[in-house]
Symmetry: C2
Subunit: 347 residues, 2 copies
């Protein structure tokens, strides 16, 4: 069996030698930078040589020379949450399309481990950071700031953070609740977030405003804190069922995860959806279509947010942009089987 001719990969030098030109010329041609003045003939010869040697640029050398890694970091608090997996999918696509790669860091629950960012950025591994947090974890944000590379906060805005992309949560919540109201519901429960300054408050505000506009009094007993987990959704749903003697006829869980838990709790208590209770939420995903019943939900362009996140981050890095402040609107209400008229149209 013939030995592989060389252990090391071909470099610019090899290509240059084969093409009979200087390495700098090869670099000019192969770096993709058009409008470099190189004669068409040499250009051809160089491409030909590169192909022949199966030349692949060494990105490490390039990075060292230009002081950029062409890598971006993203840190997520939980991976088994459709929001984050969709963000990652979009971010990865955006990075790939722009010649960057995506480094992932998992922030262990609870740990003072928000130096995940430090780890990524301090050793010069990444040119920029995509930051996500569940709660408005100021620890995480502080860590991101210390990292000294540009970062974009995803899925929320926060005081003192100049770059962020977030949803118009109030508008999304409003769409969901108005749909329920239009169906005739008047006693509508809400499984809420932590009522912090962004997502939680936003959706809560949308819920409350929609009620207000319809002339429905706000009833505190119809609101329970679920947070953003399946488990929290199930617990909050049970709390609502326990605290309200005549049950509400509809529920608006703050998010897909919470809705999943809520639905399970309803099944458990033998409450039929949508016959006994309607359910509408915000954030669509594959799982919403295969649940029983399939969920009525307001679509949020989460993957798009991940994509736009990287793209704007790259612009930030390359200096073509000074600030990122994008509020994304909910796309549309998808009406599926989880919502219907209330059992009786009477209040």
């Amino acid at each position: 069996m013939p030995r592989t001719p060389s252990v090391t990969r071909p470099t610019l030098i090899d290509v240059a030698a084969l093409a009979g030109v200087d390495v700098s010329t090869v670099s000019r041609v192969l770096s993709g930078n058009l409008n470099q003045r190189v004669s068409e003939e040499t250009r051809q010869r160089i491409h030909q040589s590169a192909r022949q040697l199966d030349y692949q640029p060494n990105i490490t050398a390039r990075s060292l020379r230009v002081s950029r890694t062409f890598s971006l970091g993203i840190a997520v608090p939980q991976l088994d949450n459709p929001v984050f997996s969709q963000i990652i999918v979009g971010a990865e696509r955006g990075a790939r399309e722009h010649g960057y790669s995506l480094l992932i860091a998992h922030i262990e629950e609870g740990a003072a481990d928000s130096d995940a960012y430090a780890r990524l950025a301090s050793t010069n591994r990444v040119d920029g950071l995509l930051v996500t947090t569940l709660d408005d974890n100021s620890v995480v944000l502080k860590a991101a700031k210390k990292a000294k590379v540009p970062f974009v906060l995803l899925n929320r805005s926060a005081q003192g953070v100049r770059n962020s992309i977030y949803f118009d949560s109030a508008a999304a919540a409003r769409m969901a609740v108005e749909h329920l109201i239009k169906l005739g519901h008047r006693r509508i429960a809400h499984l809420s977030g932590q009522l912090n300054p962004s997502t939680g408050i936003g959706r809560f505000a949308g819920y409350r405003d929609a009620l207000l506009d319809a002339g429905i009094a706000y009833d505190q007993n119809l609101v329970a804190v679920s947070g953003y987990t399946i488990k929290g959704g199930a617990e909050a749903m049970r709390e609502i069922l326990t605290k309200n003697k005549p049950l509400p006829t509809a529920v608006f869980p703050i998010t897909l995860s919470a809705a999943t838990g809520a639905l399970m709790a309803l099944h458990q208590h033998g409450i039929r959806v949508p016959e006994d209770m309607s359910l509408a939420t915000v954030h669509d995903g594959p799982i919403a279509q295969v649940m029983y019943p399939p969920l009525t939900t307001v679509q949020m362009p989460v993957e798009q947010m991940g994509y736009d996140g990287v793209v704007s981050l790259i612009e930030l890095i390359q200096g073509g942009r000074k600030r990122v402040d994008m509020k994304m609107s909910p796309s549309q209400l998808i009406i599926r089987g989880s919502t219907a008229h209330p059992p009786s149209r009477r209040d």
Copy 2:
């Protein structure tokens, strides 16, 4: 506001200057390589200087010099699948603990885009690859081989692949099915994978063997192909319900995702779990605990597999290992609310 003294980060040269020694000495001390002969006094002085300047090594330069990137790549076909998110969590932890970072690539469904590996490896971005595939996608495997860096196949073994970590699927399936049999079930359905040479076949074999051992005849009508998605699970479950006049009393979906779908289909058809039908599956995850009813399932150390995957990959890279062939055993059967005795103990 005072301007930051320097735009560029401190390098070894800066530290050396401050400590009054040569860069090579600083390198010796800071590269962590103990048993380098450096006097305790200079060692102290160097550490002190580094701290004072907040020195952080430039990993790109280091990479270029030693021809290693200290990055590993992982490519996954779907992110919204508990198996893959758990693998990633484990892999990220393992990488971090060993000074590596984890690059993620998402393999777009269907696309001849399995050059995801090529992208990662050919530009010298990673030192090694973690490979996952849903089906035994030979395209993906071929691409991984072409990448010319060591790779470890996760979650399955395959012909011609020398490094892989996989589960003893047959044993896990057997545990689940034997539990059902012990409860008194005799008509046990199976939602299966694609019946390919690894996962699918393995679990199917475990199912069949467990039946055989109990003297229960195999009934082809009780098996439907679900694959590994929620949707597939729901459809396969419906197929079973349609095809079998006296319904089976138990079902063994091949995996957590399929079980989730199956459970939804059962709810939809008004079949109570576990009163009318028991359900046991393989692969535990947070979602299994919060479903209604919570799922009886065989725990699989998936996160551990991700962790062991990187660790063995790193050993492969560093030459301390020639081959990886680990079969992981299911940990234990977790009995939750989804299984019970059959409606009547009669067959």
